[in-house]
């Protein structure tokens, strides 16, 4: 039995009147990489953003059902605290227009840490974990904007790691990057799952097959609402899916 980190039960999300997610129930195992796959518009990003409540920034969003982080109801948790525990990496690298060092230490500082040597230690540790330290250790006080796209994305991962989250959500983290940078991010994810639970949205089937341990396949129904068709170990989903629609999607017959 896997230890479960995130759970949704009969979870639905509405943008105004429009039901974007329809009664999703799934359990995301701890210290594994779980991939959300499915055609465009099926609600992968929406589901991902549910786990750190970023959807709440969009006016008119309403939810039903339950989302648990380690048994705790995330809607009862203080949102600042929740986002400390559940970090996020966006599709486009979005470092702040600050120095590399100020980017990595931003989270800890916001959460009240002032001790310089501790901050420096966190910066080094996070950048090392994000496989960026060797490339930037001599230019920590240069602007993060001068880094390449792939480096910027790893910096954003380091920035998320710096607040010691339990979960890292990644929404197509490599889609804006070239193949070499993509491989780097994938390798990085593999090394990170020891310590973190990773949930990733991807359009790239090979990527899902390569990096993830578990896969959830989402699809829209006739009302354009996102439903979860199938969830299971990536191996099984890709070799012997139990649902016809999953097989069609994976083999590229639609979507």
């Amino acid at each position: 039995m896997e230890q479960v980190r995130l759970t949704t039960r009969d979870y639905s999300l509405f943008y105004g009147e429009f039901r974007a997610l329809n009664r999703i129930s799934l359990s995301i195992p701890a210290n594994r990489i779980t991939a959300f796959i499915g055609p465009s518009g099926c609600g992968k990003s929406t589901l991902l953003r549910s786990f750190n409540r970023m959807n709440e920034l969009i006016p008119g969003v309403r939810t039903e059902g339950t989302v648990l982080l380690d048994e705790g109801d995330i809607f009862r948790e203080d949102v600042v605290n929740l986002r400390k525990r559940v970090g996020m990496v966006f599709q486009r690298p979005n470092p702040f227009p600050k120095t590399i060092y100020d980017n990595v230490t931003y989270g800890p500082r916001v959460h009240g840490m002032k001790n310089r040597s501790k901050l420096a230690a966190i910066a080094e540790e996070s950048l090392t974990r994000a496989a960026l330290w060797d490339e930037v250790k001599d230019q920590l006080h240069k602007s993060a904007m001068a880094l390449s796209g792939g480096q910027q994305q790893r910096l954003c991962i380091a920035r998320a790691i710096a607040v010691s989250p339990e979960v890292i959500l990644m929404d197509e983290p490599a889609s804006a990057l070239d193949p070499v940078a993509t491989i780097k991010i994938e390798e990085l994810m593999n090394s990170l799952k020891e310590k973190y639970t990773i949930v990733i949205v991807t359009h790239n089937m090979q990527q899902a097959a390569r990096v993830s341990d578990f896969t959830a396949f989402l699809l829209t129904d006739e009302n354009r609402a996102g439903n979860m068709v199938e969830f299971g170990p990536t191996n099984r989903i890709f070799t012997s899916p139990s649902d016809r629609r999953t097989e069609d999607y994976i083999t590229g017959r639609f979507g």
Partner: protein
């Protein structure tokens, strides 16, 4: 006949080009002409009195051939400082409110009202200052305080520069990409922490240039200053032991000096007023050039994003 048509077209095009060029060049020419004549008229004063003498001498007494403008430089400097101290926080508060906080409908009421402030003629601000502010300031019980002076003038000027600063700073804040905001919130920062630590620093150079633009405007303001600042040609000084009471002192600005005296000045006196204009011109030029530099830096900074 396609050939003929295209020559007609070319001729129109060329004429347009010439017309546009003439209008562009004429504004350049006007600036140079004004600069040239001001400078030329001021030469007798600079020759007779000496530029250094004018700039460092405190006494301005045309009847006795004393033409020091230091007191007016101090007056302009202090009233500008005062207006920046009062106006900049107000304007920035306004900009942050409009860009980040206000719901859309409220911003749509507040923004035009702020912009309307820019359309009120100076003389009306002066009237408002005389009728409302001066009596209020007079209520501060300090010997020698007449209500007319740097404080009243600073408040009037603060309101006058507010719309410029607020609208330039607001657009600087608006041009900060949303992805920074989301990135910060996703790290567990609150909305205020994000505005303070991410948005404002990201808009920093735009905000700075907004302030400098306001400064330029403040230095050039004339009529409203004449109406409320008291116009005494004295070095502003504290009225009590408290150094802040310097703002209750009467003063005169460089602009006011010219406007008040030019109608009856002759000879060296007249030339000295032109010299005052040259000093003012230089001050504003320095301010505007640095504003343009900052703006350029902020645009280039934006491109790098």
């Amino acid at each position: 006949m396609p050939h003929g048509r295209s020559t007609v077209k070319n001729r129109v095009e060329n004429t347009m080009k010439t017309v546009l060029m003439i209008s562009a060049l004429s504004s350049v020419a006007i600036v140079f002409l004004i600069g040239f004549f001001t400078l030329k008229e001021s030469i007798p004063a600079f020759r007779g009195i000496g530029p250094l003498n004018m700039l460092t001498e405190k006494v301005w007494r045309p009847g006795q051939d004393s033409y020091g403008i230091l007191a007016m430089i101090a007056g302009s400097g202090l009233v500008t400082l005062g207006s920046v101290l009062i106006g900049v926080p107000l304007a920035l508060g306004c900009a942050v409110f409009l860009a980040e906080v206000a719901p859309k409908w409220m911003a749509e009421i507040v923004r035009p009202s702020v912009e309307l402030l820019a359309g009120i003629p100076s003389v009306v601000y002066g009237l408002f200052g005389m009728v409302v502010l001066v009596p209020l300031v007079r209520g501060i019980e300090v010997p020698g305080n007449t209500g007319f002076g740097l404080l009243s003038a600073s408040v009037v000027l603060a309101v006058m520069i507010l719309p410029t600063i607020a609208s330039v700073a607001e657009s600087a804040l608006r041009s900060v990409p949303r992805s920074y905001y989301n990135g910060s919130l996703a790290l567990g920062a609150t909305r205020w922490e994000t505005i303070w630590r991410v948005n404002i620093p990201a808009a920093r150079s735009g905000i700075l240039s907004a302030v400098v633009l306001g400064l330029g405007r403040a230095l050039g303001e004339t009529i409203a200053m004449i109406m409320v600042i008291g116009n005494s040609v004295i070095m502003p000084k504290a009225l009590t032991g408290n150094p802040l009471s310097i703002f209750l002192s009467r003063a005169r600005t460089l602009t006011g000096n010219i406007a008040v005296e030019i109608s009856y000045a002759t000879g060296v006196h007249e030339s000295a007023l032109f010299a005052t204009g040259v000093v003012l011109f230089l001050l504003i030029m320095i301010v505007n050039t640095s504003a343009r530099g900052l703006l350029k830096a902020s645009i280039e900074g934006g491109r790098r994003k």
